[in-house]
Amino acid sequence: MTELLLLVQAAADTTGAYGHFPLIGARAAVWIAAEVHLMFAAFVLGVPMFAVITELIGIVGKDPKYDKLSKEFTRLLVFAYSATALWGAVLVFFLTTLYPRFWGHLTQIFGLSMWIYVGLFFAESFTLYLYYYGWDRWNAGRSKWFHWSLGVLLNVWGTIVMFIANGWLTYMMSPPEGATAQGLPPEVTMWGAIANATWMPINIHRLLGNAVFGGTVAAAYAAYRFLASKTPEERAHYDWMGYVGNFIAISVFIVLPFAGYWLGREIYAYDQSMGITMMGGFMSWLWVVQAVLIGVLFLAANYYLWIGMQRIPGAERFTPYTKWMLLVLVVCWIVWATPHTLIVTREEQAAMGGQFHPFLDVLGVMSAKNTAVNLMILTTFLSFLLYRRGNKRLTVEWARQGTMVQGAMFVIAAVVVVFFGIYGYFVPDTVRIGFSVYQVLSVLACIVGVTVVDLFLTRGAESKGEIRWGQMPERSQYALFILAVTFTWLMGLMGFARSGIRQHWHVWQVLPDTSPYASTPALGYAANMISLCVIVFLGLVAFIFWLGGLAERAFSKEQPAPGLSPQPAMGD
């Protein structure tokens, strides 16, 4: 009798709640639309951040090449913006036609914020058009500052738009107490539903993630243009642009894991079951894949810097160290990507004497992982430091002592990280979790401390020669492609982890998914779907890159603009 009642209830819940999409099904259709929309959205939110920063550097430093770079970034935005809006429209139409009841639930709660969202979207679009098309009109004196403030405004609109959309999606994960399929209880306002438990962690995580993503895609664009360039000037410019994109991406990327940690902690705090599914249960394999991919990101970024040192006069004195940095990175990568539960045959399991390998088990737990990732961050920072120091001859009297202080900071940070990593095996779980904070703080303190010392240390430093922009082997540019592809893939993968932990709920424990697609997809299926989305996105981005080049060629035929690029290397 109970089963019959449940069946009747399920039928009532499902009737009229879902639409049908031919061939691939409703879920796959929404998945592709949402994922590609999100990737474009991340790009158009990330790029304006450093467009205004590079423009500001150009204004303050009176260096036109930064202004040119900033404009080039923005040109990509204009094209990408239309694509974002198009995919956003596709997503809304798919949701309204394929998931009408769920969409009705969201609009009932968030209707007002959706109108505000649309209004802001208009404001953002027109600010972007003013910002881009007014570039040459407002290019000097006070009007240049006005132009720059348009860029700032563009970022403000974009950030608010993202925060509103984040409110909707985080509501699906962590709805406020008392929410039901019929809506919110009287005491909870729309604002209460937006500012839910995971809203701010997602906001911060996405803000940082967008900057990294924008940086990697812009660097990939520069790599494409570098490989396609025909003159030394072009090569020099795009070599430099690729470096700036990579620098921004990796600088922000270094703090991204800390924001992710906060998000994970809030998910655990909101619902233990969701937290375990994410970190230790069904989704746990994604973290192994994530470790592999982040290892790729770290190695590609360092590789690009090490190759780049060859075009810096004086940097050859640092090349003997790169093999040791590589060794640290690879050992840490191996530790990080070693799963706790290994993939074993029946015979291998018997030979190991159980589920876990008696020795490798040590590498599978959080103490080892935290230690590895912190050491990788430290090593990457050291690469940046050596790159920056490449062509500089220090002239301050305390140069030797200053460098020794910097070295000591690195050693202390590494010792703290390793000490707490090992000590973590000998203390209870609740104590060990706190150790990760000490590890992170020591690394951040080292980064801040060393940077501050470096700023004073390199003051008035003599140059050993100009960087020979453009003299980069072509294979270095593929590292930039790898960064962009890997980060895009990573974003899709971890987005699936975040979204998939809701399992068979549209809104966690409030609105069940009663469609034929209620089951959580298997990892293989998810990986295929994510790969498809990445291919669609990158295919469209490649088209946009091509358009960018097309527009510039048309422009430069009309009006050549000499002297705006970094100087190409002459001779040798």
Binding site: R265, E266, Y268, A269, D271, Q272, S273, G275, I276, T277, G280, G281, F282, S284, W285, G295, L299, W306, I307, Q310, T319, T322, K323, L326, L327, V330, A337, T338, H340, T341, L342, I343, V344, T345, R346, E347, E348, Q349, A350, A351, M352, G353, G354, Q355, F356, H357, P358, F359, L360, D361, V365, Y425, P428, D429, T430, I433, P473, R475, T520, L523
Partner: protein, 281 residues
């Protein structure tokens, strides 16, 4: 031209080959034999000092890990040889020579035959049938439900705590837990709580050990849920679990389950995971 060993040792290509081979030896056999050997060496010092014997156990490395580690090493080698222009040029020298040098024709032909044969052999090894069960990505931690029924009573996991920690004598609960463990859990989880009981080898997945890597990461409420509901009570996600663990709520009383939990943590020498003040972990 007769070249000495130092030429090959300094040449990037042969360095790469050497590192690759050394890494394979280390991964395949080093991980298995070095920790116990080092433990024995350290014991030569600790035993005369009365500090006891040092035991660093290890085991054969599963194939999936060997493949993963070797791929990582290969990526590292490629990065090393190509991050410097001169090194990259020299690294490619022998490869190019084999491809084009007339004097190396025999080697070229041999490689052209050997390489497809190797690929074919590897493909055959992958595709041929075996009698082993297929290898899969196992999920080790089932996500606990918000609530579950214990003998018909609804229990909220977040409000569940071990009552024996605050009532009676912990020593008595420990002894009671020991009795329950040895009467019920021993055949699978073993005398040493290491998951190697008499029946353990018959199960896939193997019974879990109770140590730092398992129960120390779990709250007592979680362990209670697992013991009470066993394999049949595992969530639908991540199936098939293939767990042979019985639902002990049908066999043991509530107090017996709590007492065995006290025994497990005491015996393993670890603290159960606790909620922080903020309610999180």
């Amino acid at each position: 031209m007769n070249r000495g060993a130092s030429y090959y040792l300094k040449h990037p290509f042969w360095q790469a080959v050497l590192v690759l081979l050394a890494s394979y030896v280390l991964v395949k056999w080093g991980i298995e034999y070095l920790p116990p050997a080092l433990g024995s060496l350290v014991s030569l010092i600790t035993e005369p000092l009365g500090l006891g014997r040092v035991n660093w156990p290890s085991a054969p490395v599963p194939r999936s890990i060997v493949v993963q580690y070797m791929l990582t090493v290969m990526v590292a080698i490629l990065i090393y040889v190509s991050e410097n222009e001169e090194r990259w040029r020299r690294f490619k020298e022998p490869i190019r020579a084999v491809m084009v040098e007339p004097s190396l024709k025999n080697l070229r032909v041999a490689l052209l035959i050997l390489f497809p044969v190797l690929v074919g052999w590897a493909t055959y090894q992958q595709a041929k049938g075996t009698v082993s069960a297929p290898v899969g990505l196992r999920t080790i931690h089932p996500a606990a439900p918000t609530q579950f029924t214990f003998r018909g009573r609804t229990v909220l996991l977040s409000e569940l705590s071990n009552p024996l920690r605050t009532t009676g004598s912990l020593e008595e609960h420990y002894r009671e837990g020991m009795r329950v463990y040895y009467q019920n859990c021993l055949p699978c989880h073993g005398d040493l709580l290491n998951g190697r009981g008499h029946f353990a080898h018959g199960f896939n997945p193997a019974p879990l050990p109770f140590d730092v890597s398992t129960i120390a990461q779990l709250s007592e409420a979680f362990v209670f849920w697992r013991i009470a509901k066993g394999g049949p009570g595992l969530p639908r996600e991540s199936q098939p679990w293939n767990s042979a663990m019985p639902a002990w709520e049908n066999i043991l009383t509530e107090e017996e389950i709590w007492s065995v939990i006290v025994f497990l943590y005491e015996q393993a020498g670890v603290e159960p995971r606790r909620l922080t003040e903020e309610g999180g972990h």
